[in-house]
């Protein structure tokens, strides 16, 4: 066993039992006992007041010194660089400065915005300017990135926790046998070890975990959009653009068509600063048009609870929650949504939450920065009117 209980020291207090995320510790005859369900996650080790849990998970020597520099993957869609790329440059710059190393961006596919990456903080850009990279081809993207990593050996690689990043980055980690942490909301350097501390929600956001990849390099993480702040934009910042020749693979997938029906264009929930969301309380599909009106006044988009999607009032792409999208806009306005936990796990990390519900006991009010107990059919039109008129300061 790599984690074991020192029976002499154990007092059977049970602290470890409640800490264990996998129900793998039981108390037997007043001593803690680790069962088969143990995944060796180590959560119990620090919790023990008696220091009776012994962690023997070995740390193999690394060749960490060979790896230098912080890289970010800058994804593009139709040539436009995604805003998460600039957020990655913001956090990447901080990490690179702390490690006294350089910050590089990797860009696949043609884009007019390459220079922008430098102005937002990159020292270098590795750029594959080829039409073959216009759409995500997981094998092509991952093989190209693997080659670059093997050649230049970065210490840290960050990508957006987006459809693109979460799809192809795992292949890179698998091939290189390195640690990959999904959907991080916080990144720090551990002062003692120099390891990247990767902080992320787990169990639907009900708990947070700090993940480290102590023995492998690069340390790779995907980072949740809209969490990290952009860095400083300097229009006179200079850097180097290094052209990388495209790989020629015998493509095993082919994107035949990109379909952007209009509802989809407006649904980019992950990127939206403002989301106005509707639930069963809206009562009808027509009521969603009020939400659209409010959303467009606020420069945002429209979300929905599962109940509203199940009613067929709005497509699934709008669904927020456990089986829909996880969002964290600056402002989330929940209209006629009760706040079931499956909905909350998808939106509770929004900066500001406004709830409009006629039931004062609706659980949505437990997470709402501002709550209005009232009928949305009255409140929403009033809000639109007041926003159009402008409310005095």
């Amino acid at each position: 066993m790599l984690i074991r209980i020192d029976i002499e020291k154990c007092t059977g207090c049970g602290t470890c039992v409640s800490v264990c995320p996998f129900a793998a510790i039981i108390i037997k005859e007043d001593k803690a006992f680790i069962t088969e369900a143990c995944t060796l996650c180590g959560a119990c080790v620090e919790s023990c007041p008696e220091n009776a849990i012994i962690d023997e998970r070995g740390k193999e020597g690394t060749k960490a010194e060979e790896f230098k520099g912080v890289w970010i993957f800058a994804e593009q869609s139709r040539g436009k660089i995604a805003s998460v790329a600039y957020e990655l440059l913001g956090i990447g710059r901080k990490l690179a400065d702390e490690l006294k190393s350089e910050l590089c961006a990797v860009l696949f596919g043609p884009s007019d915005e390459v220079e922008e990456l430098i102005k937002w903080g990159a020292d270098k850009v590795y750029y594959v300017n080829s039409q073959d990279y216009t759409y995500l081809d997981d094998e092509l993207y991952s093989k190209t990135l693997i080659n670059l990593i093997e050649q230049y050996k970065p210490e840290i690689l960050l990508a957006g926790a987006t459809a693109i990043g979460r799809s192809f980055i795992p292949r890179v980690a698998a091939r290189l046998k390195v640690g990959l942490t999904a959907d991080c909301t916080g990144l720090e350097i551990d002062r003692e070890t120099g390891n990247l501390l990767q902080i992320r929600p787990a169990f639907g956001g009900n708990i947070m975990a700090t993940i480290v990849s102590p023995t492998s390099r690069p340390q790779i993480a995907t980072v949740r959009p809209r969490v990290m702040k952009r860095g400083e934009y300097k229009s006179d910042r200079t850097g180097e653009i290094i052209n990388i020749s495209p790989l020629k693979l015998k493509g095993r997938i082919k994107v035949l068509e990109r379909v952007e029906d209009t509802s989809f264009c407006k649904v980019n929930l992950q990127d939206a600063k403002v989301i106005v969301s509707g639930g069963r309380g809206l009562g009808s599909p027509e009521a969603f048009s009020i939400l659209w009106e409010l959303a467009s006044l606020l420069g945002g988009t429209v979300g929905a609870s599962r109940a509203a999607v199940d009613e067929g009032w709005i497509p699934y792409a709008h669904q927020v929650g456990q089986t829909g999208k996880t969002v964290c806009p600056k402002l989330y306005i929940a209209c006629g949504i009760s706040g079931a936990v499956q909905h909350l796990v998808g939106m509770q990390s929004s900066d500001i939450i406004v709830a409009i519900n006629k039931d004062p006991n609706a659980p949505i009010f437990n997470v709402a920065t501002y709550g209005i107990v009232g009928d949305l059919k009255i409140i929403l039109p009033l809000m639109i009117k007041k926003l159009q008129e402008g409310v005095s300061e």
Binding site: V19, L40, R166, G179, N206, Q322, P360
Partner: protein, 260 residues
Amino acid sequence: MNIIVCVKQVPDVTEVRIDPKTNTLIREGVPSIMNPYDLHAVEAGLQLKDKVGGKVTVITMGPPQAEEVLREAISMGVDDAILLTDKRFAGADTWATAYTLSKAAKKLGFDLIICGKQAIDGDTAQVGPEMAEFLDIPHVSYVRSIDSVSDSEMVIERLMDDCYEKIALTLPALITVVKELNTPRPPSIRGKMAAKKANIPRWNADDIEAEEENIGLKGSPTMVKNIFAPPPRGERRILDGTPEEQVETLIRELRRLRCL
């Protein structure tokens, strides 16, 4: 068509909580369920089989009790189930999990592997794509529709953040599926009987010729350093007054916070 579906047993996360005072998990009475996305993966496998014939095998890696989710899949109508269980698998992160599952898939042989988009306990969405890399096959994530299938190719739709894409995919391949793809069928009575009677083979590390340094804790590059409760949400305020007043206060507050 020879189809493998990967399913995982997970705690029902909506019931997992942390006690803010003690920083410990409250999980009294938290039930185990089949990962909700994996129900859609099973359904996708069954529908493909109905269409083109063949066989659907479900696999899971987990402790002995993970057998429950395999029986659930059998009750829905899958042909075979394999439980990958071994003390040496314990402590696996996504890398070691994907390695182990891919070894089993190699042993079984397949035309198509179907995974859920992500497992709701870790929400990583990494195991599927990682398996594809280990098996050196193409993959497509977030499949929301399967338009056509032949022996050597599928045409499917992939849900992206701002659009969807129609994709031709060469087989053998791996896909991960979203909920929009289908509605999982309920267990049938015959299925339930079969599930009860089924003798589910158990494979350990040796059975799949997995190398010790690639499985379980040893094979896992990532480590959980600690867990803690999410930071509590800031102030909460119920706005009072007439609807007019409520709305005006709200707009003023949102302006103050530079939200508008």
